[in-house]
């Protein structure tokens, strides 16, 4: 049975507060803070992108598990902000960690669930015996259109998982995928910013797919929410994961350790995978963790993990996700933010 052998996260140090964005657009900051439970979000520096964050998250994962990178037979990066339109992100990451050349490499896309997709596929390949280890990454530096509701949440971060056959730090006990064709959020070729269907992104999109996947997974594993120590759901804002957890019968205490969105924002493909890293940072041997991602378009991947005795010793070797989130941050103003994110039109 496949398991998580190593994991790591990366968060850029820049933050922008909801008030700073709201004041530029004449929006009501308290309503975003209360309504969406968002206080601030991470912003990449101009020299950071999906590739650089993926390399750093993977280096932490490798430091934790100490495996030889040459044994990694697959490198899959899930993102909707790959730096190139044509040229894989994965080749750069594989080269930087020393996994080339005997390696399979694909960039995945499925809005916010591309990272969990990479985990899902690595698991399958490991269980099939096709590879010894697989590297699955969820990373994004997503953008919302200036003034759009998404601008308050679209953030940057990465999570990397090394998946292998040994139990590692967490056994992958079960999975389930649930998807339909739902046009709630999209971006056409050559468009700079995505479009979304406003309120339609809630009930028929996020809530339907997350609950659909979660209920099927609970049934498949013959388990109930109280059997789990922790639960991680996709976090497009602070409010949705808490609400969907409550709908399913999970408590705030189960969700809180991996609930990063209020001060991180939505890291898209990185979102639930990063929530899982923060949960692994605190989980105890024997704990079961329930995770469901969500990607617009739309679908969810669900996982059940069981933490092994190897976790506590191994996780100390790289920085905890909460440390990356809470320490060493620097607040930027809206002007700096627009410069960093390339939103300013400059002279030719």
């Amino acid at each position: 049975m496949a398991g998580i052998i190593g994991y790591g996260a990366y968060i850029p140090r820049n933050r922008i507060k909801v008030e700073e964005i709201a004041k530029v657009w004449g929006a009501d900051a308290p309503s975003y803070k209360k309504g969406l439970m968002l206080r601030e979000k991470s912003v990449p520096s101009p020299d950071q992108d999906v590739i650089t964050m993926s390399v750093e998250a993977t280096r932490s994962a490798l430091t934790r598990c100490g495996i030889d990178a040459k044994k990694i037979g697959a490198v899959y990066i899930g993102s909707e902000s790959h730096p190139y339109a044509v040229k894989p992100s994965g080749t750069v990451v594989a080269e930087a960690i020393g996994a080339t050349p005997d390696c399979h490499c694909v960039d995945f896309e499925f809005a916010c669930k591309a990272g969990s997709e990479a985990m899902f596929v690595c698991m399958g390949l490991v269980d099939a015996g096709a590879i010894e280890y697989g590297l699955a990454i969820g990373a994004d530096t997503s953008q919302g259109a200036p003034g759009d509701a998404l601008e308050y949440s679209a953030a940057a971060g990465a999570a990397a998982y090394i998946i292998g056959k040994d139990d590692g730090v967490a056994k992958m006990l079960a999975t389930h995928s649930f998807m339909t064709d739902t046009p709630d959020f999209w971006r056409r070729e050559y468009m700079h910013y995505p479009r979304h269907a406003g309120r339609f992104t809630g009930e028929p999109a996020y809530f339907k797919h997350v609950t659909g996947c979660a209920n099927a997974l609970l049934e498949k594993t013959n388990s109930k929410p109280s059997d789990y120590a922790y639960a991680v759901f996709h976090q497009p804002n602070g409010k949705f994961p808490m609400r969907v957890g409550k709908m399913l019968g999970f408590t705030k205490e189960q969700i809180e350790p991996g609930w990063l969105a209020p001060t991180l924002g939505n890291t898209y493909s990185g979102s639930s995978p990063m929530g899982l890293t923060a949960t692994l940072d605190v989980a105890k041997p024997g704990d079961k963790i329930f995770m469901v991602s969500y990607g617009s378009g739309a679908g969810s991947d669900g996982f059940v993990f069981e933490v092994t005795d190897a976790l506590p010793k191994m996780r100390e070797k790289a920085p905890f996700t909460r440390t990356l989130l809470d320490e060493n941050k620097v607040y930027i103003d809206y002007g700096t933010y627009t410069k960093y994110r390339g939103k300013i039109r400059k002279g030719e």
Binding site: R13, S45, P46, D47, Q48, D49, I51, T52, V55, E56, R59, P83, Y84, V92, E95, A96, I97, G98, E327, N328
Partner: protein
């Protein structure tokens, strides 16, 4: 030579920080050399540089070469890594009044530059302060 060809050739150093450790005297050359500058030896092992070190000197570039013009002002420094190798690189994520000789820095993978909107993106190492 085109940027992409030269960039590609330097990938082991830019991405994986690979140096050459002399089999005779143990000195690490970065980038690798054909002949060891300490003992004249010609046999080397490939080693990864230490990821941390201390800043020996630093400066702030306010008028940069054309391909870095967009990034000014930016800090550049020379650091001595824990394995004794001296390395020059940009210092990222730093407030200029924070720069100090002896400051602990680590190597991080960053975008070094790109060839405009349509060209390749060049990645490599930068120093960031250890806080």
């Amino acid at each position: 030579m085109s940027t992409s060809a030269r960039y590609w050739r330097e990938i082991p150093q830019r991405y994986r920080y690979e140096g050459a450790k002399c089999k005779g005297c143990g000195e690490i050359s970065f980038p690798p050399r054909i002949v060891c500058k300490s003992c004249g030896g010609r046999e080397f092992d490939t080693v990864e540089l230490a990821k941390q070190g201390k800043l020996l000197t630093h400066t702030v570039i306010r008028v940069g070469p054309s391909q870095f013009a967009d990034q000014t002002p930016y800090a550049v420094g020379v650091a001595e890594l824990d394995d004794g190798v001296r390395l020059t690189a940009q210092i990222a994520d730093v407030d200029f009044d924070e720069l100090k000789v002896g400051m602990p820095v680590k190597l991080e993978f960053r975008k070094v530059r790109d060839e405009g909107e349509a060209g390749i993106i060049c990645y490599g190492y930068k120093f960031v302060p250890v806080r």
